[in-house]
Amino acid sequence: MLRIFGKIQRIGIISEPVPRRDEPGLTELGEQLKTHIGERFSGSLAIRAVDAGSCNGCEIEIIALNNPYYGIERFGVHFVASPRHADMLLVTGPVSRHMEAALRRTYDATPEPRLVIAVGACGADGGEFGTSYASCGAVSNVIPVDAVIRGCPPTPFDLMRGILEAIGKKI
């Protein structure tokens, strides 16, 4: 146990301040996010991630949001297991036709007001897979979408910024 504590102390806190990479500055955006989450979601935003047919690249980056570098929970954002507990759906695509019904049901199970973000090049417009006998393409072809985060896959920073912006936009 002592060695665990030792290791933790030696590594210290590695979570990064959200860098100013783009306009508007992300630090301000982060502060706004905290405010928005505070006001509209009682201090905590619950996200249900849905893989509706992705290549799994986007999932790795969504999981990275929880690693100690990004630590998205510090902004009051956490991932939940059930759509019934969620304020937001983070949907990666393309939506395969075999996942179409499951995605619709997940959407229906999410209480209002709900935000839907389409993630990745495929979630945005079908990406490399497009629309076919097997793929519905963009998430917006299946359920209403409030915001899009592009990238193949979007980096954790892109995801963080996109989530923050989507919340700022809504209402």
Partner: protein, 528 residues
């Protein structure tokens, strides 16, 4: 004996058994040998191959020139044999290989759903890849099936799939998915349990079927490389490499030595990233947050370096037909070597802490045991096979450049539990870190790309690449104007998904997450 000669006794054996078969020349498939077999003899071929000790690698079909061609690939001692047969388009039927090879069961169902070949003697009549997006009389890989298909306005759920039913008092079912609790890919698991103990697990996959084989048709080489890089995003380098190698073999294109070195560096980086991240994820699944966070930290650092060196955190689209997308900055080489040494040290220190914790050992030892005989029968590849005594690695046993000039250490364990798979992966990561140093030290100078030159129509290529999950087989055939006519990538997940059903037997339901993670099959790579 060279690899091409290894199958000679087998061919004699087939002749003696009275099979009508003829060896064919197929330059793009070398060093694999190609054997044309009569359709009636297909089942006997499978039986003879099984008796001779071959592994069943993959099976795929093709609708070409008014016939249905079916291929099966076998391997023994690092030598490969592709058997092929031609069927009429009307009602193509073929004796199944599944009675001789359990690992052929799902691949044959895939061929049946996609191409309409019925396999006689197959033990499972149910659909596999097909859910409800197309009718059972439609076959997406047939030439007359439009890529757009004829999908219903809304595709219904596949609710009438005939799962094995639970019987008996006290037996209950747990349906899980397709939308899973964590941030992972979709699929359905149907458990039958008594109390906490799993009696049976049945997998239902195909939810992420995106029509990859179909939409590959008509692409140019660069477009296919991009698509192959998205067969399974966590394995983008290895799949793109496999697709490019198959295309390059079809085109007879020589790739610069430096490009091969860079591909290998990227492929080993991908292996390390996934092994390190998954060790953390396994520790998370047994509730050991410290280990999870520490390994997540290491993975993040590693991926940042990949971005710095190659421009992308997963090195997506960095392998292109004819070579690599960009060269490595000379300053990065020393940095990457230092980083590899440092990561090895860091993993060592962490494992010294983790190995000391009895509750970790308690959860991973004896959990999810895959018996060596099952792993062998299913043809399990990668760390799943190697943790259960299957001593095979394409980089060592059927080496392709640049591995042909490197010694690849292949760790093998025999106990087949979660612990053995985790150990195998840690040892593989360490071996990869050494390989990265060796590759960087011996990186040849010169160009990183040869201009792409499309081959004539009909040219075909076959490649075998050791991705981090194991052996990837990719088959490519070109049509007119350098366009792809057929692309078949066989992700190693095909060989390990069935193993999960077996290794979970008699474990408790709460151990499923860690057992599943220790295998970590790709849904996308499997569903295509």
């Amino acid at each position: 004996m060279t690899t091409t000669e290894a199958f000679t006794p087998f061919l004699r054996r087939l002749e003696a058994a009275g099979l009508t078969c003829e060896e064919q020349a197929a330059p793009g498939l070398v060093p694999a040998r190609v054997l044309a077999v009569q359709a009636d003899d297909w089942g006997r071929l499978g039986n003879e191959a099984s008796l001779w000790g071959c592994r069943w690698v993959a099976g795929w079909g093709e609708d070409v020139a008014d016939t249905i061609r079916v291929n099966a690939c076998f391997e023994k001692a690092g030598a490969y044999l592709v058997a092929r047969t031609v069927l009429t388009r009307g009602s193509p039927a073929l004796p199944s290989h599944a009675p001789s090879y359990p690992g052929a069961e799902r691949p044959e169902r895939h061929v049946r759903d996609m191409l309409g070949v019925s396999f006689t003697g197959h033990p499972d009549e149910r659909r596999w890849t097909r859910h409800q997006a197309w009718k059972d009389s439609d076959y997406p890989l047939r030439q007359d099936f439009p890529t757009a298909g004829r999908p219903p306005a809304q595709t219904p759920a596949d609710h009438d799939y005939n799962f094995l039913l639970a019987q008996g008092s006290g037996v209950y079912e747990i349906p899980v998915g397709p939308v899973h609790a964590g941030v992972i890919e979709p699929g359905h698991f149907r458990f039958q349990a008594v109390g906490e103990t799993v009696l049976n697990l049945e997998e239902r996959l195909g939810y992420t079927h995106k029509g990859i084989e179909k939409i590959a048709e008509g692409r140019d080489a660069a477009g296919l490389a991009r698509l192959a890089g998205r067969v399974s995003g966590d394995c983008t380098v290895a799949h793109a490499w496999a697709a490019c190698m198959a295309m390059e073999k079809a085109a007879g294109l020589k790739v610069p030595q430096r490009a091969l070195g860079l591909r290998a560096v990227m492929c080993e980086r991908e292996r390390v990233a996934n092994h390190v991240g998954d060790i953390g994820a396994m520790l998370n699944d047994i509730g050991f947050a410290f280990g999870f966070i520490q390994f997540a930290r290491l993975r993040e650092q590693w991926q940042r370096m990949s971005r710095e060196a190659f421009g992308h955190r997963f090195m997506m689209d960095c392998v292109v037909p004819g070579g690599a997308a960009s060269d490595l900055d000379p300053r990065m080489m020393a940095t990457m070597s230092d980083e590899a040494r440092d990561l090895r040290r860091q993993i060592g220190k962490l494992m010294a802490i983790i190995n000391d914790i009895p509750s970790v050992a308690d959860r991973v030892r004896g959990a999810g045991v895959l018996k060596p005989e099952y792993a062998k029968a299913l043809g399990c590849m990668g760390y799943v096979g190697r943790a259960s005594g299957v001593n095979f690695d394409v980089r060592r046993d059927a080496p392709y450049p640049p591995y042909d000039r490197l010694g690849v250490t292949v760790p093998v364990h025999h106990y087949g539990d979660v612990n053995a798979r985790a150990r195998t992966r840690l040892e593989e990561a360490a071996a990869s870190l050494e390989l990265i140093e060796a590759l960087l030290a011996g990186l040849p100078s010169g160009p990183v790309r040869t201009p792409w030159r499309a081959p004539d129509a009909g040219a075909e290529g076959l490649s075998l690449v050791e991705g981090w999950r194991g052996e990837i087989l990719t088959y490519v055939r070109f049509g007119e104007n350098g366009q792809i006519a057929r692309f078949f990538p066989r992700d190693p997940s095909w060989t390990t998904w069935p193993a999960l059903e077996l290794l979970i037997h008699d474990n408790i339901v709460p151990d499923f997450p860690v057992c599943n993670k220790s295998v970590n099959g790709s849904y996308s790579g499997h569903d295509l």
